[in-house]
Symmetry: C2
Subunit: 366 residues, 2 copies
Amino acid sequence: MTTVNRRKFIKGAAAGGLASTAVAAPAIAQSMPEVKWRLTASWPKSLDTLYGACENISKRVAELTDNKFQIQPFAAGEIVPALQVLDAVQNGTVECGHTALYYYFGKDDAFVFGSALPFGMNPRQQNAWLLHGGGQQLLNDFLKKYNAHFIPAGNTNCQMGGWFSKPIQKADDLKGLKFRLGGFAGKIMQKVGVIPQQIGAGDIYPALEKGTIDGAEWVGPYDDEKLGFVKVAKFYHYPGWWEPSSTGGFICSPEKLAALPKQYREALNSACAETNMWTASKYDAVNTPALKRLVGAGAQLTPYSPEVMDACYKAAQDLYTEINAKNPEFKKIYDSYTAFQNDSYLWTQVADHTMDAYMIRYRNAK
Amino acid sequence: MTTVNRRKFIKGAAAGGLASTAVAAPAIAQSMPEVKWRLTASWPKSLDTLYGACENISKRVAELTDNKFQIQPFAAGEIVPALQVLDAVQNGTVECGHTALYYYFGKDDAFVFGSALPFGMNPRQQNAWLLHGGGQQLLNDFLKKYNAHFIPAGNTNCQMGGWFSKPIQKADDLKGLKFRLGGFAGKIMQKVGVIPQQIGAGDIYPALEKGTIDGAEWVGPYDDEKLGFVKVAKFYHYPGWWEPSSTGGFICSPEKLAALPKQYREALNSACAETNMWTASKYDAVNTPALKRLVGAGAQLTPYSPEVMDACYKAAQDLYTEINAKNPEFKKIYDSYTAFQNDSYLWTQVADHTMDAYMIRYRNAK
């Protein structure tokens, strides 16, 4: 695109009265109050992408406030366990946390919209819905009764579909499969015959090695590589349809947020917004070399077959129908989310997807 | 993904000595200096997405500095014409601007990497390269001699491929075609026989209507709709391979940036980073309903044929070979850019593209 608009050209405006002066001395105020918050994360420090998001928020908030507003991040387990971040914020143990809201689906299935809906939106769509489609507001209305305020602050992008010792080719291959995966998607997996396994990070590898589980999903190439799965389960399935986009959420107490000086509140909003893209871009930058290393180490990249995808898609829709029938808060957000998603794919499929498809075909043909 | 890490659980940490206090009084400093900058944009106010990016940067910088750092945006032509933003920054007419760096390819073809390379990276890849692949640094090294510093601050996402009264089906259809398009891509178009036309926004519609040009590209559904092309040229081609991602750039004088109080400099960095995603998400949110309206008004969505795409792709590679042979600064950035892009598509094609392809197929089958 090129814009040429000379009509309003104001000749000589450069010499006009609006010239400004840069100020050299960083005369930052003594009177900006010191505020210290603690952030409890759902991530161990070894997940340097997601824990890195917490460190980045902390760093940027400090830089934006002349170090007066300090948020100290703590890894999972240092203050509370990984899955108790919401509770710790809700009951005031800490001022804030960084988590994936779908961890709390046991309290209410509506939490999933804050991070990832199986067969839901892709990262760009999810950001558009959160920022410009009313999504963040809907989630914050829902979160009021948990005394929590949510700001998107990181994204893993579409995740991988897990590691298996045998490829999953037919829908029947899912029956009786002991598959380690997190949370809400287990409800869908059960409908197609999988026996979901909840196992913490450190215990997955030995379980795969011993054969007490048949497969395991974690995140994507960069994070998965650290857990060593490729040594014991070669078939690396994709896509992770349960997380087409997975938003990491900064949460804090609405009261504590309101009590901040306005400038600090805006610093926090900016730091989270900046971190939302910083984290997603970091994942893109580090996943590529990790994927190459994994393939070099013997990973067999294997798409889920259309039959397997279709069985899971149908099971997901059945589950959403059931939840919508009994949970009006879920339905309220679901209706907004799916309307936005359905429309969005109309646009996604035109310019962007066609361009990517061409570049991928061309690259593979070289 | 679910992380359960109870090993490091520190029981009772909540009651420990790290508890913090929220501060209610927004006691913002008197001593933060007032700084006023003028921003000249390459956009008219009617482009509320791109001009909106300028307004958003201004708004966020003010909010992050208690209104002490004020950036006043001016539309194209109010201070200098649309395509003289770089010059206005370089010679000190204004402190900063918002533009697309490829407008300045006449000075040096290397400018294109700051906004869009034909058949280049998609938006996520470009952000990953800029933020985590050394791209922004490379561009700023290059920009030193233009007395300009670049911060990514907006993205249109993949653009559309233009409006035509007849569909472009064969490579031969390009020969002699009078096509209005902006800048650098015209060099590629000439290689395939197109006669590129440089026409400002307001003059495109009458030229299309009178038939003095055969086609015209602008941006995408939302921006194109405003210019009314659908009434005179029904065939809406895609993708706009000359802009698979198009970054809007905030530019300012490095000296004036260095002279800012550190906190203001960080506010500017955050505001631009936030606006980078805000603008791209806004485009996603508004393009979808615009596309529906355009199709309702008679637009015939028409993909460029593989033959046409291949002819243009080959012409682009030929052009890059020619420029690389004589322009070492272009080649330095090109080598970094294309290495990153080539690797990135390895990852793009696996989880994300496969997931999108499934959702698009499913949506269309409904």
